[in-house]
């Protein structure tokens, strides 16, 4: 739901109310967005899951997308104080819930 307010200077202030949480996968996390890891797809092999969990990608952990590098390169995430680049095929199988830093975001047009 969005609210539109006309300011005295003539600009339109949009106050957007986002839902509390949005279920997505890690690949859909935009730059500087933060999310909670909720689970992993069953398509991931046991080895992959083990390694991801060892590195900190586990249920209940917050992850932040830091970069979306050029040339279709794997995205860069920060988790548990370390920075990792995760292949898109893997990120697609990592389930997350996005918790916006502020429930109300303000944009000025």
């Amino acid at each position: 739901m969005s609210f539109f307010i006309l300011t005295p200077h003539g600009a339109v202030l949009i106050i957007q109310h986002r839902p509390m949480k949005i279920a997505k996968t890690l690949i859909q996390l935009s730059r500087n967005e933060r999310a909670l890891i909720t689970g992993f797809s069953t398509k991931l092999s046991a080895n992959y899951l083990t390694r991801l969990r060892e590195l900190g990608f586990r249920e209940g952990e917050f992850v932040t997308c830091l970069k979306t590098p050029p040339l279709g390169a794997p995205r860069v995430f920060e988790i548990c104080g370390s920075v990792f680049s995760v292949e898109s095929e893997i990120a697609r199988e990592c389930e997350i819930e996005i918790y916006p830093a502020e429930l109300l975001s303000t944009e000025i047009q």
Binding site: L52, R53, L55, K67, V76, E78, G81, S82, F84
Partner: protein
């Protein structure tokens, strides 16, 4: 002598600590997966063992398997006195995960574990604190803060290690019941990770401060435009540096060798001995030594890139483009190292996540222009490409030609990988054993002194190994070329007869019999080429002054078409017995090195013939 095991996460500073404890100069770099086999050295009655890095006690790649198998074996040995777990203070939580596993396993074998919290200098530099005492109390093992780079805390570590008692036989027996698989259940993984997280939050540094500077630099190096441009500029800089910076040193060495050879030969009264000194020893071996500065600079520049932390970023940027050729972003590091030497580069492919991609990387790496090709390139480019500059003196034409020769190797390596990827049996898995998850280490100012020492050692090792072979070959070449008619009669020598017999093989590439002989001898090792050629032109010349091999080659009547064809042949041919041996070892196949040798030689021959014909036709 009792053993001390050095374990830890990839890129936590294990090898730097090992070097400082033992006084050795093993290669170190700021990216994961530099050490792929266990190395040992002793100091003060203790034998230190440096293990490949591992994230946990579950192996997903070959280098991790080496580390974990080695650790299990070491726990069963009464000679093992203690294990050091190296933790990176700037990324404590990840390091603590392995430490907690090690403590649990080592406790069963009554093997003491020392937690060495390394890279403390970076925390202190940023004014960040870490509670080592609190960690020690919670973990129940000794915790020591060190900076292997600055040498801080090492004295205390050595003193502590000496104090540990020898383990008794009863403990060793109990270690036989170790089952590492029990550590890798989902519940156990979550438990270790939760404890690591808690300990890190309670006693560790605040990560935000440490990551901030890394993010700022990454905003540039991983940006849409900046990333690819910086990568290309860095690679161009690498090749320019090899050619431009080395030139004065090469001229100096050339002058010393020429004058030393002339002087020594003039002191010898026997004419055959004088000719041998001048033509075999100094013209042959000396011609190769001239190129040592270029090899040294290549090692230094690659060392600077490795130590800065940039290589991990290049791995990320190149992952997608390399996957088009069946490779992985991780293939970049072996391929770049292959520009120094293919042997460690092929071994570095152990860190690659999938067997198929690892095999393709092993097959593509020999195409990279290693340092042994450098003398041949330098000789031909220096002799036949004009020393003019472009863009207002910014880029030299010779440096650009150098870049082109290196580029040919890279392009052919990628094409070969793409073709082989389509030809390979589906039995070789496309799926990775481990996911492509690359840790991006913090940027660090390269530690110049160890890089210089390591580069000097590697250059000296290269000269020493190649020197023995070059000397043996040049002696044989000199005998065959000198007799029966002596100096100045090369055409009628035994070698001349053999050379003219094989000349038709090399004619399509525009090469005469002398070049043909040098090419044939260099199938043992590429670096023999320059030495052989130096000896041949030394025998042919009746002049008592040695002069440079470049001048002799220019005066031999060789044209630009033949020179470039020869350079292309060298950039693509497989002329290294040691590389073939390491391919056999790493792939476990006898057929693969045979295919590599035959395939690369045929490709090189055809490409060189095409270059010769095309340039002649212009």
């Amino acid at each position: 002598m009792e053993n001390i095991l050095i374990l830890g996460n990839p890129n936590s500073g294990k090898t730097l600590l090992f070097n400082k404890l033992t006084g050795l100069n093993q290669k170190v770099a700021n990216f994961p997966g530099v050490t792929v086999e266990i190395k040992s050295a002793h100091s003060e009655n203790l034998n230190y063992q440096d293990f490949p890095g591992t994230y946990s006690l579950k192996a997903l790649t070959i280098d991790e398997q080496v580390a974990i198998d080695g650790f299990k074996t070491a726990l069963l040995s009464p000679k093992t006195k203690a294990a050091i777990c190296v933790l990176d203070a700037t990324r404590l939580e990840r390091s603590l995960y392995l430490l907690l596993q090690l403590i649990e396993v080592a406790k069963k074998a009554n093997c003491p574990v020392v937690a060495v919290v390394n890279v403390m200098d970076e925390l202190i530099g940023k004014g960040v604190e870490i509670n080592l005492k609190g960690l020690e109390e919670e973990l129940g093992c000794t915790v020591i803060g060190t900076s292997a780079k600055k040498g801080a805390g090492l004295k205390e570590l050595k003193e502590l290690l000496k104090k540990f008692p020898t383990r008794n036989q009863k403990d060793i027996h109990s270690a036989e019941e170790l089952n590492l698989e029990t550590l890798n259940t989902k519940d156990k993984i979550i438990d270790f990770k939760t404890r690591a997280n808690k300990l890190s939050r309670e006693f560790g540094p605040k990560s935000g401060v440490l990551l901030l500077s890394q993010h700022r630099i990454d905003n540039f190096f991983l940006s849409t435009w900046g990333g690819p441009i910086v990568f290309v500029l860095l690679m161009l800089f690498l090749f320019q540096a090899i050619f431009s910076w080395a030139a004065p040193f090469m001229d100096g060495i050339d002058g010393i060798i020429s004058s030393s050879g002339d002087w020594l030969a003039s002191q010898v009264t026997n004419p055959i001995a004088a000719d041998f000194i001048r033509d075999a020893m100094f013209a042959g071996l000396g011609s190769f030594l001239v190129f040592a500065p270029q090899i040294f600079i290549l090692f230094v520049v690659i060392g600077l890139l490795e130590d800065s932390g940039y290589l991990a970023r290049a791995t990320v940027i190149l992952h997608k483009p390399l996957s088009l050729f069946g490779l992985s972003g991780r293939s970049f590091v072996p391929m770049l190292s292959g520009h120094a030497c293919a042997i460690p580069a092929i071994m570095a492919a152990r860190t690659i996540e999938s067997p198929r991609k690892r095999l393709l990387t092993i097959l593509a790496t020999p195409f990279m222009s290693c340092s042994a090709r450098l003398p041949v390139y330098a000789l031909l480019v220096g002799g036949f490409v004009p020393a003019t500059t472009l863009l207002g003196g910014l880029i030299g034409l010779q440096g650009l030609a150098f870049f082109a020769l290196f580029a040919i190797g890279i392009v052919m390596g990628l094409l070969a990988s793409a073709v082989l990827d389509r030809m390979l049996s589906k039995k070789v898995s496309t799926l990775g054993d481990a996911p492509f998850v690359v840790e991006l280490p913090p940027y660090r100012v390269p530690n110049v002194k160890p890089i210089i020492i390591n580069s000097a050692n590697r250059t000296w090792g290269f000269i020493r190994n190649a020197g023995a072979m070059i000397f043996s070959v040049t002696v044989v070449i000199w005998i065959l070329g000198y007799f029966p008619n002596g100096s100045g009669h090369l055409e009628s020598s035994w070698l001349g007869v053999i050379g003219h017999w094989i000349e038709p093989i090399f004619t399509p590439m525009g090469m005469d019999w002398k070049i043909g002989v040098a090419v044939l001898t260099s199938f043992l090792a590429r670096e023999v080429f320059v030495g052989t050629l130096g000896t041949l032109y030394g025998i042919e010349s009746t002049d008592d002054n040695m002069g440079s091999l470049t001048n002799k080659l220019q005066n031999s009547g060789m044209g630009i078409a033949s020179a470039l064809a020869l350079a292309v042949f060298y950039s693509l041919a497989m002329q290294c017995v040691s590389t073939l041996a390491v391919i056999k070892k790493e792939t476990g196949s006898t057929k693969i090195p045979v295919y590599v040798f035959v395939g690369m030689t045929i490709v090189a021959y055809i490409a060189a013939a095409i270059v010769f014909v095309a340039i002649k036709a212009l």
